[in-house]
Structure formats: C-alpha cells, structure tokens
Amino acid sequence: MTLLFAITIGVLFACGIYLVFRRSLVRLIIGLSLLTYAANLMIFTSGNLLRRGTPIAGETPPEAMSDPLPQALILTAIVISFGVTAFTLALGYRASQAVGGDDLDAMQTTDREEMK
C-alpha cells in the first residue's frame, strides 16, 4: 500500500512538473493542479495507511483509532486549491485574450526595459 502511494505521488509530481515546464498556458494550469493533488496525497500518507477504526470517542478505543488530522488538513488544502485553480483559469483566460494565444514565451514584456 505504501509503495503504491509512493509511486502514485511520484508520478503525479513528475507529470505536474513536466506540464509546468511546457510553453502552453493550459498545460501550466493543469500541471499546477496535478502538483496540488500530489501534495494532498502526500499529506494523506502522513496519517496511517492501515485500516483503523473511526476516530469517535466512545465508539472506538483510542489505540485503535485512525488519525483524523491529515484528512482535515487535506480538506482544507482541497478547498484552497479549488479556489486557486478557479482563479488561475480565469487569469489564464484573460491573459490569453490580452496576449492573443496561450504561448508563455509571448508573455515576457514585463521583463523588458522598454515597458513604461
């Protein structure tokens, strides 16, 4: 199970980084969301991957409980990444309108001196 998780996380990170390095804006955004998925899975492994009891006092003895915190953390991270992805999509749409294409190499005017 741990090995499966490790491989999945690794593949997700690799794909995310590969896509972020592409010139296309759409791929960049997809790459960023893959990175956040990988991060969420990674937090998931910080709990215990074994099957444990529900973490409710009185129902499960404390030593058999699973750790609820990583899931709470992931939930927070998912909500945040949802908002951020929505924003990057809107930003990407506006930028591709302003630049006239989704080529990231065309988006370098702010680094040039002639800009006022």
Partner: protein
C-alpha cells in the same frame, strides 16, 4: 486567555466584508474605520506586551497540541504594529490615488483581506494555520496584482501566481511531512519534539523544504525572478504594500520555523544560508543599478534588502536575530516610503521612467526632501534608521567572525547608495528636456486627494526619521523579541516555555 489576541485578524476580516458596500462613500468610511481600528488594536497589543508578557490563547480552550495556539510574543507584536501602520498609511494613499474602476472591483476589500492574512500569519502558533494564513494573503495578492487586467499585469500575474503556488505546494508537503515525523503541528510542541528527535537527517530535509518554500515567497537568490517581473505592474499603492510587507512575511516565517523549530538543522545549513544571503544582496543591488524604471529599480532593492534579512539567519546568533528584527522594522518603513514617494512623483509628473523625469526638486521640493531622507535611510547613512540596522547586523557578523558576509554587506550598502544617487540625479536634479507623450500627463487629483497622498508618505518618512533619531526603544524591543525566539537549551525558549505554561493552566500537555 484574552480576547484581545483575535482582534488583529477579526478587524481586517470585518473591514473586508463591510468594504464590499455598494456606495462609494460608505465603502470608504467602512474601510477607513477598519484600518484605523486595526492600528489601534496593534498599538494596544504592543502596549500590553511591552513589559515582556506573551499573550497566548488556546482555541476552544483545548490545551496545545489539540487546540490551535494563537501567540503574540514581542516579534509578533512588532510585526503586527508595522503591518497596521503600513496598512493605515498605504490605505490612505490608495484612497487618494486608486482609479474608480479598480475600486468598483473590490480593491478595498482585497486590501483588507490581505491585511487579515498577514496579521493571521503573525498571530498563529500552528504550522498548518500558517499555511492557511499564507493562502489568504496570497489569494488577495493574486487578485490585487491582476486587478485592472492590463497586459503587463496579467503577464506578471501568471508568473507570480505560478511560482507562489509551487511554493505553497512545497510548504504544505513540508507541513504534512512534519506531522508525519513529529505527530504535531503546534510550533511550540514541534520545537520540543524535534529537540528530542535522534535522527537529524529528516529534520535537515524538512528545513531545506521550508527554506525553499519561504525563500520563494521572500525572493531569495536564486528564487527571486518572479519579483521584478511582476511587482512594477500594478498601481503604485499595491506595489508599496507588496514591496513593504509581502516578501518580509517569508523572512518572518523562516525565523519562526528555522530558528524556533529546527535550530539544529539550520546550523547545518549555515554555509548554504551564507552563500544565498551574499548572492541575494549582490544580485539584487546589481539588478537595481541597471534599471531605468523607478519601480523596477526599487523592486530589485527589495531583493537586495531580503539578503540582509537573510544574513541575520545566516549568522545565526541571538544578536544577529535581534539586528535582523530591527532591520525588518527599518526596511518595511523605508521601502514603503520610497515606493509611495515614487508614486507621488508619478501622480505629479506622469512618469516612472528616469529618462522622462527631471528637475522635480525644483518643482516639488517637499517630495525631494522626503525622497532624500528615505533614500539615505535605505542606504544606511547616519543618523537615519538604516545606519543602526546595518551597524547592528554587521557588528553581530563581526562578533560571529563572518567577515565575508560583513564585507559584502558593506559593499552592497555602497552600491545601494549609488543607485539612490542615480534616482536623485535623474529624477530630482537633472533639467527636464523630455517632452511627455499623451499618456504621460500627470493625474488630475483634487486638493484633498493630493494632500492625503503626500500626507501619507510624509508620515511614513517621519517614522523612518524617528526610528533613526531614537532607535533605543526599538533596539531593546528587538533584543527581547530575539531572546524570546532563540532556543536557550534543548527544546526551550521564551516562546515555547510560555506556550507550554499557558497550556498547563487549562489542562496540561498530554503526551
């Protein structure tokens, strides 16, 4: 348990929602009341921690590590006060200069949410809440940066958003791994747990990840390229707010995490920190020297100053940390002042470009005096604040026998002075021979707007000046802040002991 502690987060949050009001007048009144209340709260907090008390509140009255700790030690109080001052003055400046279109699209609520995120980052004693605070702050900054939708803003925005999302991903992974290793996310508890940990290897990995995550946000070498690509694109009030505060939060987080929680690993990373600090200072200032746009020039100086702040971490003594905290106060004030003054010049003369400006000193001597003070303060000329900041930092460096760092710090000061003189010559002294084009006309401002804009910058400059003339209380404050943060024995520091004691009162720390 004191309700006071939550106000710096609550006030900007409420301000943000009430600044969504539809009518311009009401919106502005709500925002003004909000930033004023935030300033008052920060002053009250500073007054109640001035005698050395550390304010602690456990959320839901659960002892740590189960409840999230909110902690205001001296460092937090200093940062809260600085943020409140900047928010207040830049808020006034923004009300005078921001265009109606941006204001209609929720500029002031975003401003308030940004402050809420910043304040929450300074309040929290929990690693994951720090991540959430960063996200609140970043989300508002993303929108503020791109608000208006000019081409440059969108291009700069994409770089800024991408790199910051990657940094957040690294941060959240590091936080998850920290939890996996230590089984807690409370900073004080982490400091105790990590001091008991036998294997230093894993803490080294964590420290490296935190260094990269916060390093991207702080714009250290070689992770700074997003900053000069984006910071000059939004209106100057936004640039002033970002340049003054946002990168500094990265350094604040480094101090908190690397010094408080992972001191052993940070000691191993020292050669790396020294190298990075040196290159950040040099590359930043060399980049600045080459620029012809005032905003880009000042943006590169932001990077160079981050190098000095990182130097406090690289030297790694209590004295250096204390000097770093003083430097933080100085650089936040001086940098914001410089951005605001360049904004004033733009509003009055219609340009940011050095070649398109000239003889401003003759036409607006007040602006020239303000720039002169702020620029000399940044370069570190006595009796201004930068002199004390650099003096303390370099003295700490010499005492720790880091002569290379000290030498570079001095040389970079000289180059800073050089590029400030360049602005002075080009903008304020040289006769203006350039005929402005149609889009370089000064903005028509009403008399009140003009006064508000100049008044905000003037107060900022007065603060810079005051910090230079009377640095004693700030120095003793930063000494205490450093002493509270710095570990005094394995798993002990003023901060940790205070949090543990506060938890013991409401039920104790159960292992």
């Amino acid at each position: 348990m004191t309700p006071l502690i939550i106000f710096p987060f609550l006030i900007p949050l409420i301000t943000g929602f009430s600044a969504l009001l539809k009518r311009r007048g009401r919106r502005r009144v709500a925002f003004s009341i909000g930033v004023t209340a935030n300033l008052i709260a920060a002053v009250v907090i500073m007054a109640s921690t001035y005698d050395g008390t550390i304010l602690i509140s456990q959320m839901g009255d659960h002892p740590m590590p189960f409840g999230i700790s909110l902690v205001i030690d001296s460092l937090s109080a200093i940062m809260l006060l600085l943020t409140a001052v900047i928010a207040f003055l830049v808020g006034i400046f923004a009300m005078a200069t921001i265009d109606a279109n941006r204001e209609r699209f929720a500029f002031f609520p975003l401003f308030a949410f940004l402050v809420a995120g910043l304040n929450f980052a300074f309040l929290t004693g929990d690693l994951f809440s720090l991540y959430v605070a960063f996200e609140i702050m970043l989300m508002s900054s993303f929108v503020m940066l791109t608000l208006g939708g000019e081409r440059g803003q969108l291009e700069g925005g994409i770089k800024y958003v991408t790199i910051n999302l990657i940094s957040s991903t690294i941060f959240v992974v590091a936080a998850g791994l920290t939890y996996a290793v230590a089984g807690t996310l409370n900073m004080a508890h982490l400091a105790i747990r990590f001091s008991q940990l036998a294997d230093p290897g894993v803490t080294l990995v964590l420290a490296g990840m935190f260094l990269i995550a916060f390093g991207i946000k702080a714009a250290i070498f070689p992770l700074f390229f997003w900053l000069p690509a984006s910071y000059h694109t939004p209106p100057i009030a936004v640039t002033a707010l970002f340049g003054g505060l946002l990168t500094k939060v990265g350094i604040y987080a480094m101090w908190r995490v690397l010094i408080l929680i992972l001191p052993a690993a940070t000691a191993i990373l020292q050669p790396l920190l020294i190298t990075v600090s040196i290159f950040t200072m040099i590359v930043g200032v060399l980049g600045a020297v080459a620029q012809m746009d005032v905003r880009r020039l000042l943006s590169f100086h932001v990077i160079s100053q981050i190098g000095y702040l990182l130097m406090s971490l690289a030297i790694g003594t209590t004295d250096a940390l204390s000097a770093g905290i003083f430097f933080m106060a100085h650089v936040i004030l001086a940098k914001t002042a410089l951005f605001l003054i360049s904004g004033i010049v733009h509003e009055l003369e219609g340009s940011y470009h050095l070649k398109h400006l000239g003889s401003v000193a003759k036409r607006h001597p007040g602006a020239a005096v303000m720039f002169f003070i702020a620029a000399l303060a940044l370069a570190g000329i006595p009796p201004f604040s930068g002199f004390w900041a650099k003096f303390l930092l370099l003295r700490a460096g010499i005492e720790a026998q880091q002569y290379l760092l000290v030498g570079v710090g001095l040389a970079v000061s000289l180059l800073t002075l050089y590029s400030m003189i360049k602005i002075w010559n080009e903008v304020f002294w040289k006769p203006n021979t350039y005929t402005p084009s149609a889009d370089e006309q000064p903005t028509p401002l009403t008399r009140i707007e003009r006064r508000a804009m100049i008044g905000a910058a003037a107060v900022m400059v007065v603060l810079v000046f005051a910090l230079g003339i009377a640095p004693e209380s700030m120095i003793s404050l930063s000494n205490r802040a450093a002493a509270e943060l710095f570990p005094n024995g394995l798993g002990h520091s003023g901060y940790v002991d205070a949090v543990v004691a506060a938890s013991a009162e409401i039920g104790g720390l159960s292992e």
